[in-house]
Amino acid sequence: MLYIKCPFCGYRSQKEFAYGGDGTIKRPELNQEISDEKWNEFVYLRKSPNGKHIELWHHVAGCRQWFKVQRDTVTHEIFQTTKMNEEIK
């Protein structure tokens, strides 16, 4: 069971969270022209790396905040967690 450091609540058991998908995706701006290719990329295409990966977690049973986690997809080691408006270094 992972032990994840919510940037607001501190270390909590994985039981309090829901996994939130890829953390590197930026949703395109509303009302902007966008090619079919770029839109498909946003909606469907994801990298599945072996190793460090930035992903989102949602503290559903805690503060209800979304935040970023950098985790190794093989060993589960978590390197950093940050608020949404901060960068993973």
């Binding site: 032990y3 966008i34 949602h58 209800r64």
Partner: protein, 998 residues
């Protein structure tokens, strides 16, 4: 024959408490503190089971978790448990133990025929046989194999025991209370760390209980008692015996099982039988010791062959002799300790040492006792079949590849020692890759991946003073790292007899013309020849050898067989062991009960349930409930002997003719506030919201970014910047997370708060032509006329002193209203409505009737919004705004979504006006067409149309609008079912939607 192998004045048992028990029907006695194994051995019982494949007679081999053979079925207090390890099981008054895998008895087992036919059952036998003829597998082979396979019998009774869980945290977790564990726990605790010390056995001390050592001039046991007493008194220490850390998981979490009740005959009612601890430790010290490695020789599985350290433990801890004419067979000095223990009790053992004549402090001490030692000797084979009665032994040649002579000597037990294997399972589970230490010929932990350290024998330190030094230092260092305290205590001094090096000899060669079976893995009956077969057939990787031969795959996880197996593979492959590698260690370390994993998630707590404030009323009024996620919703209210269909028809009819009341509390409610609320709604819904007036509600549809409909609901504008959104029951949590995602991540500049208020409001829907009349009676001071409260209008009222929200919205398609009151008043509201509604023939209706009503109105719900449909498919194109961008809009431009013959929602009626069309049926042109029969669509929802008195369904069909008027077939191939249907409009009743606006 009562306890004729028991020694007086030896052991740690309570001789004042006799315990009686049964084994295979016969009564025996032992003492409090015995294991089932030690008590049976005290009574001279050795034959306890039959091996898995060959049904060979088997006896005890070890004294603890390493035991491969003695798995018994135990009956206690009406509770039957299979595969109980007799060498770990604490004796309890009145238990009845029976042998497994034998019939009719362990002494005379018909299964032993397998042993004589063993030539035909080598490794891989299962894969090669039973293939032909194909039909025989199901009818003949499988049932037969099923009958003879397996060991114990699982009980079919419900497990009535209590099992509990616990979450605990500490600075330092220490697994094992031998000298390494005691030292480190003590040093860390004295330095102020929060310590948890866990010991698998009932007694603390580990090897200190069996080894002839002193620490600070105290015996091993006395020093152990002193340390434990102090630890138990410290407030920062938790000490547990009968507890085992069996799994090491992520981020330094370990799981431990505490056997709170297994050893108690009469346990207090609410004390759990076992407790599972989830322990998150900042640091873990693994002091799990080591297990003795056997030497492989002919018929080494005969009852009476023991690990020599086990024989020693039976003497020192249990006061039991495993034999009175022991033969000690060893490649190292440890065997000599066992010999000396036998000698203390007037027995003369014979020692066979595979090493050439040499000396050490320990060997000299044996010589001084006049113990007979034969150097360069090995056991060729044990004789005796059901019990060792003699051994063939011989002198080894120079390079130990064969025997130069042989003789038979009398003995009644063979105690074998092949040196030691560190118990590295937890280290490996934590991610530590392990390395091979060729000084001890075993794997030891290497680089840690998590905060764990192995000390003592579990990392290959086999001398006491070194272990104590490691323990005290590590305990202090780790506690200082965590607490920053600096109180160190000095390491005690110890006395231990010195030993010499071991011999790299683990398998007696086979003399010419002899074919004794030499077993490597006892529990799965894997012999040396099986491993050779696997290698000959090309299974070279250790992973393949393991699975092909099943070496190491039994419940003992290869504790006494893995390394010997690896060594044999290495020999044949002409590699060294580390090149061969080892298979993965997985939790649990020893078998744990399912009950323990489940904990209290049984009966009522199996899954948390959600109930509405009116639940008690529904129960009292014969509601039959259905699960809607965690919620319990009334599916129908049973009157008399009604079935589901009859009740739902009645309820639905009553709504169409009079008025019905339905509990809609479970639907999601989200309170939305903020200056940017309307803008936010515009972005998440497909339709427009900026022009919604205060006091008005609007139906809304939400898409996923891929254009698929995610949810639908009604959102009402309560005041200028305050909205009340509803969602479906199933999607309530999803929608909230979805909204939070967009507000926190995508558009953090918007000033909007979203908060779930599902629980704040109890909701009742009143539907039917008389609903307005009823509403007027409920709110006599409110103008509820069609003009004052039009369709999709909202107002607030006073329901007999309780404030209420009234939404004029309809899911059923009838004239309808939804009343919300604060939850604690929900029951009051419902009872009031039922009372006042009597004059209007009010009846409650459940989800089934509700479905009937909305389906024949053509209203889409979950079955149509199934994760595959876009708004155009389900008649919601009118809600897709082309004036603004919103979540998912760009995806609607996909070519496939805009094809002219795109699937559309339609209605279906069976042409015979009688046959129900099963939901999920496929729609085809011709039911008899040859496969593949092109699928035109599927049936999403079916009901009984109470208005038209015939079945009706909604379906999603390719080019649906142009299919209206055509006849198709709804088929269900799995059920061999087909019915002819006519395609009609999905709005079967009230096409113009007049009723809701009336």
């Amino acid at each position: 024959m009562s306890q004729s192998y028991r020694i007086n004045n030896e052991g740690l048992l309570n001789r004042n408490k006799e315990i009686s028990f049964k084994f295979n029907g016969t009564k025996y006695t032992g003492y409090e503190g015995d294991t089932l194994a030690s008590a049976l051995l005290a009574n001279g019982i050795h034959l306890v089971g039959r091996s898995f494949k060959y049904h060979r007679p088997r006896g005890f081999f070890g004294a603890g978790v390493e035991e491969p053979n003695a798995k018994l079925q135990i009956l206690l207090n009406g509770h039957s448990e299979p595969n109980v390890n007799a060498t770990e099981f604490e004796l309890v008054e009145g238990i009845e133990a029976t042998s497994q895998n034998c019939w009719p008895s362990v002494k005379f087992d018909l299964g032993a025929i397998n042993n004589y036919l063993s030539k035909f059952f080598p490794a891989g036998f299962y894969y090669k046989t039973f293939k032909w003829p194909k039909s025989f597998w199901y009818k003949v082979y499988e049932p037969f194999i099923r009958k003879i396979a397996g060991f114990g019998i699982a009980s079919l009774e419900k497990d009535k025991e209590r099992y509990e869980h616990k979450y605990e945290y500490c600075d330092l977790l220490v697994t094992g209370s031998g000298p390494a564990g005691l030292s480190s726990a003590y040093a860390a605790a004295k330095n102020g760390a929060k310590v948890i010390l866990v010991e698998d056995k009932p007694r603390f001390g580990g090897s200190l209980l069996t080894d002839d050592v002193t620490i600070d001039n105290l015996s091993g046991k006395a020093w152990t008692d002193k340390i434990i007493t102090q630890l138990k008194e410290m407030p920062n220490v938790i000490v547990r015996n009968r507890s085992q850390v069996f799994g090491y998981y992520d981020h330094n979490m370990t799981v431990m099982i505490e056997r709170t009740g297994d050893h108690l005959k009469d346990k207090p009612k609410y004390v759990p039988r076992q407790r599972l601890w989830y322990i998150r430790a900042k640091e873990v010290i693994l002091s799990t010791g080591s297990i003795e490695r056997p030497i492989v020789f002919g018929n080494n599985d005969t009852p009476g062959v023991f690990l020599s350290a086990a024989a020693k433990e039976y003497i020192k801890v249990y006061g039991v002799l495993v034999g009175k004419k022991p033969l000690i067979f060893t490649n190292n000095d440890s065997g000599y300790e066992t010999a000396l223990e036998f000698k203390k009790h007037g027995i003369d053992p014979i020692i066979l040492d595979t090493r050439e004549e040499h000396t050490s402090e320990l060997i000299d001490s044996a010589k001084n006792q006049n113990i007979k030692i034969k150097f360069s000797y090995a056991v060729i084979a044990a004789n005796g079949y059901k019990k060792v009665n003699s051994a063939q032994i011989g002198r080894l040649n120079k390079d130990k590849t064969s025997f130069v002579n042989s003789e038979t000597i009398e003995c009644d037990c063979i105690c074998v020692s092949g040196f030691w294997t560190p118990t590295v399972h937890l280290a490996s589970q934590s991610g530590n890759k392990l390395k091979f230490d060729d000084k001890i010929d075993a794997f030891v932990p290497d680089k840690s991946k998590q905060n764990e350290t192995s000390i003592g024998a579990s990392k290959g330190t086999f001398t006491l003073q070194d272990t104590l030094d490691e323990g005290f230092k590590k305990g202090f260092d780790l506690s200082k790292k965590i607490t920053s305290n600096n109180n160190s205590i000095s390491t005690p001094s110890s006395n231990e007899i010195k030993k010499s090096l071991h011999d790299k000899f683990w398998c007696s060669p086979l003399p010419k013309n002899k074919n004794f079976k030499r077993f490597v893995d006892f529990q799965n009956d894997v012999s040396v020849s099986d491993i050779e077969v696997a290698l000959r057939e090309g299974y070279r990787s250790i992973e393949h050898v393991k699975r092909y031969t099943t070496l190491g795959m039994a419940t003992d996880q290869g504790r006494t067989s893995n390394l010997n197996g690896l060594q044999l593979v290495a020999n044949v492959e002409k590699k060294i062991v580390p090149q061969v590698g080892h298979t993965t260690f997985r939790p649990p370390f020893t078998p744990i009960t399912i009950g323990t994993i489940v904990g209290r998630e049984v009966d009522m707590e199996y899954m948390p349930t959600r109930k509405t404030p009116m639940h008690s009323w529904h129960e009292k009024n014969n509601a039959v409930f259905v699960d809607a996620g965690a919620w319990k919703r009334p599916r129908y209210y049973k009157q008399g002997n009604e079935n589901l269909f009859e009740a739902s028809k009645r309820e639905a009819k009553n709504v169409r003719e009079h008025v019905g009341i339905c509990d809609v509390t479970t639907l999601g409610k989200i309170d939305i506030k903020g200056p940017d609320a309307a803008e936010f709604l515009n972005r998440v819904y497909t339709n427009g919201w900026s022009k919604l007036s205060i006091g008005k509600a609007r139906y809304g549809v939400m898409l996923r970014e891929d254009g698929i409909v995610m949810d639908d609901g009604t959102t009402t504008r309560i005041s200028e910047n305050h909205y009340h959104m509803t969602t479906t029951t199933a999607q309530a949590a999803n929608v909230l997370s979805h909204l939070e995602y967009y507000l926190q991540i995508v558009w953090p500049e918007l000033k909007v708060n979203v908060l779930s208020t599902t629980e704040q409001w109890a909701g009742a829907a009143l539907a039917g032509p008389k609903s307005r009349d009823l509403l007027a009676k409920l709110f006599p001071n409110l103008d509820v006329s069609n003009e004052a409260l039009p369709f999709m209008g909202y107002t607030e009222g006073n329901l007999f002193g309780i404030k209420a929200k009234i939404f004029r919205i309809s899911f059923s398609g009838e004239l309808a209203y939804e009343i919300n009151v604060e939850s604690n008043y929900g029951l009051f509201m419902w009872e009031k409505i039922m009372e006042i509604g009597k004059e209007f023939n009010i009846q409650p209706y459940g989800t089934e009737a509700l479905s009937f009503l909305r389906i024949e109105m053509g209203h889409v719900a979950g079955p149509e919004l199934d994760g595959r449909t876009i708004p155009y498919d389900v008649s919601l194109e009118g809600l897709v705004s082309n004036k603004k961008d919103f979540v998912g809009k760009r995806s609607l431009q996909k070519e496939a979504f805009n094809k002219l013959d795109r699937q559309k929602l339609v209605g279906l009626v069976p042409t015979d006006k009688k046959t129900n069309i099963p939901e999920g049926s496929h729609l085809v042109m011709d039911k008899n067409a040859k496969l593949p029969n092109p699928k035109l669509g599927h049936v999403s929802s079916s009901c009984w149309s109470v208005e038209n008195n015939n079945p009706f369904s909604l379906a999603i069909v390719k080019d649906g609008k142009n299919m209206i008027g055509k006849k198709l077939f709804a088929v269900s191939p799995l059920k061999d079912f087909a019915v002819e249907v006519e395609v009609i409009s999905s709005h079967y009743v009230d096409q113009e939607g007049k009723r809701v606006r009336s």
